[in-house]
Amino acid sequence: MACFLVPMGEAIVTTVVQKVVENKEKKVGKEKTTNTGLSWSRKLSWLNKMLWGGTALLALEHVWHGEVVPWPPFLAAMENPADVAPMLHEIATIGVAMAITVTVVWAIMILVAERRAKAVPKVKESPVSGGA
C-alpha cells in the first residue's frame, strides 16, 4: 500500500548524511577515510542509489496498482478510514523489512569491497618508474 515510504525515508536521511560526510572529507583534504581507498561518501552513495532506485520503481508499481494517486492525500488507503490500519501495518512490517534488507546487502557489499581492497598489494610509488 505504501511500503516504499520507509526506504524513501531512509534514502532522505542517508542522502543528507552522505552530503555532510562529503563536505567533511573535502575539508579534511583526505578523500580516503580508510586505508582501503574507499571513502565513506562513496560507500554511502551505493546505498543511496539502491534506496532511491528501489523507491522510484516501487512508487511506479504503486501508481500502476492505484495505491498511489496524483491528488491529496496521495495514498488511496487514506481515503477510507478502514484501510489506514492495514496500511500502517504494511509500512511497519514490509516497509521496514525492505529497508533492513537493502541496508544489510549494502553492509555485505562494503565488507567484501574492503576485504578485496585490502588483499590488493600496495604499489610503491617510485619517481623513476612513475609508480608503475
Binding site: 526506504p7 542509489k49 532506485g53 500502476w64 514490509i94 525492505m98
Partner: protein
C-alpha cells in the same frame, strides 16, 4: 513478473558494467544499483506476501508483464536523464557549441 524482469535487468546491466570496469563513463553502476535496489525490495515484498497470504509467488499475466516493461523503461529514463545532465562524453556540449558557431 515485474520482479523477474527487474532481476534480469539487474543481472544484465551488472554484467555489462563488470565487462567495462573499472571504467564507468556511462554510469552503468548507477543503473545496476537502481535495479538491484528495486529487486531486493520486491523480493522482500513477494516473500512476505507469500508467507502471510499464500497464493502464487510470481504473478504471471499480461498486466504484470506490462508493469515489468514500464519499470525498466522508467529506470532507463532516469539513467538517461542523469547521463544527459552529466554529459560524460561531452556530446551535448559539442552539439550546443556547434549550433552557436553555425
Amino acid at each position: 513478473m515485474w520482479l523477474i524482469m527487474t532481476a534480469l535487468a539487474a543481472v544484465i546491466v551488472t554484467a555489462i558494467w563488470y565487462i567495462r570496469a573499472p571504467e564507468d563513463k556511462y554510469k552503468l553502476g548507477l543503473l545496476s544499483l537502481f535495479f538491484w535496489g528495486a529487486t531486493l525490495m520486491w523480493l522482500v515484498d513477494h516473500v512476505m506476501a507469500y508467507l502471510t497470504e499464500g497464493g502464487e509467488f510470481f504473478e504471471i499475466n499480461l498486466d504484470a508483464t506490462l508493469l515489468g516493461v514500464a519499470v525498466i523503461v522508467l529506470a532507463l529514463f532516469v539513467w538517461e536523464i542523469v547521463l544527459v545532465v552529466s554529459d560524460p562524453k561531452g556530446a551535448l556540449k559539442r552539439v550546443l557549441k556547434g549550433q552557436r558557431l553555425s
